[in-house]
């Protein structure tokens, strides 16, 4: 942190919702504050990095830069997803520069040190001189790739950069239990079931918009005919997660009017017309419905740039491709309707007298819950 860095005042954020302000402007407009916040909020917790479907086959490797950190998402020979720092333990050279399948070992393109897909250093060619591939000072067991803690839940790959967060299943026990009926095998819909949106906005604004249903009748008027504001409810668990639910979800229908996709197995009646949309703090937006689910990983590119990686999942790997495409298209229209809002709030954050705004105690509590959580993390980080 630069010497002239002045910590933001976040006391008012943690007041009760009827008296709280939102996070100060600097959390959306100041690279230094973004840097501090990244340490406190994105690196110290379980942040979403990618989805397992990004590396569907054993040996698949995908380089990903996360907050400037070069990472390698990799499905190892046994099918387990791992995340490594994408650098050779020798001279720090980037190991993998583009997505590919590792057929055998990962070979560093510089001096050809080789690593297994589990990160183990397996060869150090010429390290002891030409044709001498060992040296007493180079102990392979001590030079495995640096692995980043990771946990896959609902196909989302979460990472804990700091390495000291409590276990994912402890942190998110309440949510995991809440959605236990959806704890079944899910199938990514493939190429026509993913897309990405690039936003000129801070990632938190995408979360804030996703959490609340207050905006639905204005931004998504197409929903008003069957999914009215009063059909939604807030989901608020301070210190844990927030979002919204609906009581009138309708399945996606095929052209003949029948349900296009099979339901997830073993769902109770609650989910016949119920659906929930929850943010797994800090940057993953999840939705569960009886016939399909989705995951949105918000990639924080910079304080004012975000990429939304959106993926759809089904209960079967044999759903109709045409229906999947139509479903994706329907969601694209909804998510694109949100872009101007999120980017408009980003622009608004440059107004010098804006104090973070006020919350409707009735409608905005999920958003306040998120701000409160961010403020708590920052307070803890500042000590």
């Amino acid at each position: 942190m630069a010497k002239d860095f002045t910590p933001t005042d976040i006391v008012s954020v943690q007041r009760p919702v009827d008296k709280a302000n939102g996070l100060p402007n600097a959390h959306y407009t100041d690279p230094q504050v973004f840097s501090e916040e990244s340490e406190a909020v994105l690196k110290s917790t379980w942040a979403g990095l990618a989805v397992g479907a990004d590396v569907p086959i054993a040996g698949d490797a995908k380089p990903i830069s996360f907050l400037g950190i070069p990472l390698l998402l990799l499905r190892d020979r046994d099918g387990n997803i791992r995340v490594f720092e994408n650098i050779c333990r020798h001279r720090g050279m980037q190991l993998v520069s583009e997505a590919k399948n590792i057929e055998g070992s990962i070979r560093c393109p510089y001096h050809s040190w080789c690593y297994s897909t589990k990160g183990k250093l397996v060869s150090t060619p010429h390290v002891g001189g030409a044709g001498h591939n060992t040296h007493p000072s180079i102990v392979k067991e001590e030079l495995s790739l640096n692995e980043v803690r990771s946990k896959v839940w609902r196909d989302v790959v979460f990472i804990n950069i700091s390495g000291d967060a409590p276990d994912f299943t402890d942190v998110h026990a309440h949510l995991i239990n809440r959605w236990s009926e959806f704890d079944c095998q899910i199938f990514h819909g493939g190429a026509e079931s993913k897309f990405k949106l690039e936003l000129t906005a801070n990632y938190k604004l995408a979360v804030e918009n996703y959490c609340e249903s207050y905006h639905l009748p204005w931004i998504h008027p197409g929903l008003n005919s069957y999914s009215r504001l009063e059909d939604h409810y807030n989901i608020v668990k301070y210190g844990k997660y927030s979002g919204q639910g609906t009581l009138v979800y309708r399945q996606f229908r095929a052209e003949d009017g029948s349900p296009a996709f099979p339901d997830f197995p073993n769902l109770s009646e609650q989910w016949n017309e119920g659906a929930e949309y929850i943010t797994v703090y800090p940057n993953v937006l999840l939705g569960v419905q009886r016939d399909h689910a989705f995951a949105i990983v918000l990639e924080p590119k910079a304080y004012n740039k975000t990429v939304e990686h959106i993926h759809f999942y089904y209960a079967s790997d044999a759903t109709d491709s045409k229906s999947r495409s139509k479903n994706t298209q329907q969601w694209i229209e909804v998510f694109e309707e949100d872009i101007f809002v999120v980017q408009g709030m980003q622009s608004g954050r440059y107004a010098p007298t804006f104090d973070g705004g006020r919350f409707s105690p009735v409608m905005d509590e999920p958003t306040h819950c998120y701000h409160d959580w961010v403020a708590r993390k920052i307070s803890t980080y500042r000590g």
């Binding site: 057929e103 055998g104 990962i106 070979r107 080789c114 060869s123």
Partner: protein, 91 residues
Amino acid sequence: MNRPIAITTGWHAKYRHIVASDGRDLNTEILAAHAENNYFLLIDLYTEAANLADNQDAECFFLTFAHVFALELGHPHQFKLQARLKAYGRE
């Protein structure tokens, strides 16, 4: 000429201009395979160069390349190449 020329100064120069038993210039073929990133072919060419080497250092030098490319590809020859290097205490 059926044997590699072993130049004694510098390990880059030491192993150049290897001529195969059928008269092919292995050095040229190896460079061409590198240019094409043809690792399967490189495994064979470096193994052939190792087989032609007239000293243990040269043999292990070439075996190392063959072994590394075999490792990268998950090629079944990786095990016997590694065994040859291990036999010389080089792996």
